[in-house]
Symmetry: C2
Subunit: 220 residues, 2 copies
DNA sequence: TGTACATCAGTGAACGCGCGTTCACTGATGTAC
DNA sequence: TGTACATCAGTGAACGCGCGTTCACTGATGTAC
């Protein structure tokens, strides 16, 4: 917004987008480590050599995709763990947001799930870094939540990581439901499952400081 | 054990093992969808064409690896969720078993984590199937546990899936600790984190049926 | 036990193909005056 | 506003290379008598 791009820059951005979009689509059926440069340029409708004007390699393009897929997610995270409403409302809102995000950006979600443990190190590290940032942000959000009042920062981060992982698990279940079949009951099943798992975690959270020693070390 | 293999069968098994082992090693640095047949046979020390005597494709080899990596894990699952000992002992035992398994079979663990959401459909489905079996077995084990007495089968399965996913998350954290650096404190950090997450889940589990409605629908 | 034949795991040459990368280029866009 | 020159995103030919797959083969192992 700071200044209008020249026609040259604008065209370059357009080609870059075409490359990213083509890659994302091709990655629905394979992993980044087998994605070919020529394959991407062919799908994007440019010459193979044009690729190098934008990325050094497909791994480099992968890192850009990670930032695109996860970078824009930070505002949503805050909403997801927002302290507004009672426990049950918050869970329903979080699950709904996850389902909605998967519906809106299925290819991004698939890409992250796939490359989080994928075969391309720089991409894996970019995912890990972004997820660590998420966990940090969730941890901060928990600090302002009465339910985790009095928790150590360590404990808050522990719970935050549990939430982030649970979010990813749920997202990839929604994704499977989305692509495997058009049966809406599968989606409903995932919603029910994720809701109850979050409920159970929420109960553990509310009782975390109970018992003689606190910090979860309560008697059975 | 039923009958001794002939020399021919024995040699064939040896070559098959060499192919599987070579593939597993090559997969430390890439995904199955980019693994080449010639690459595998070269590493295994056989001619490219020998591959076809054992597998139809690298995807087929991948499915065999899934069965090898997860098939042998079923007995361990039972021990992991065994009801023996108090809550804290059970958690320590489970985390210890996971850490030990990662130490003993790092390549298998990496393979499963990577291909669970990887780019090769038949392999992904084989992983999903095995994990569903695990969840089923854990659910059964929970049925015989006083802590989940009175739970519906649906609720038991919900918790079982949470445990299975948590097991995989923990395993891949141990794996990262194993390969990233030789710092033993990282391993300790993962142990602490996983232990506390299981504690929190355990607390949620013990209070699941509390409250007016039960089934986690208790008041805040 | 010895012989003749069948099986079949592994070989090696050959194939056509798509890959990543290099290079000199083109021509539209941008800039200086 | 017009002109001369610089920039640089995208092109297209060319390269050497490793890929998956086919095919007819070899020779050790297995089997029948």
């Amino acid at each position: 917004m700071s200044h209008t791009l020249g026609a040259r820059q604008a065209q370059k951005q357009k080609t870059r987008r075409a490359l990213l979009d083509a890659a994302l689509e091709l990655l629905e059926g394979q992993s980044l480590s087998s994605l070919g440069l020529r394959e991407v340029t062919r799908a994007a409708g440019v010459a193979p050599t044009a690729f190098y004007r934008h990325f050094r390699s497909t791994a480099d393009l992968g890192v850009a995709l990670v930032e695109e897929a996860l970078g824009s997610l930070h505002p949503m995270i805050r909403t997801t763990v927002s302290a507004a409403g009672d426990s049950e409302e918050r869970i329903a809102r979080a699950v709904g947001l996850i389902a909605g995000h998967v519906d809106a950006y299925p290819a991004h979600v698939r890409f992250i799930a796939r490359e989080r443990h994928g075969g391309v190190r720089p991409v894996r590290e970019a995912v890990r870094e972004q997820l660590a940032r998420f966990a940090g942000e969730v941890g901060e959000a928990l600090a302002g939540d009465p339910v985790s009042a009095g928790w150590s920062e360590d404990d808050r981060l522990m719970l935050a990581q549990l939430y982030v992982d649970q979010m990813l698990v749920t997202a990839s279940l929604f994704l499977e439901a989305l692509e495997a079949d058009a049966d809406p009951r599968e989606r409903e099943r995932v919603t029910r499952l994720a809701t109850r798992q979050l409920r159970l975690i929420g109960i553990g959270r509310r009782h975390w400081l109970d018992g003689p020693a606190g910090g979860g070390r309560s008697a059975p």
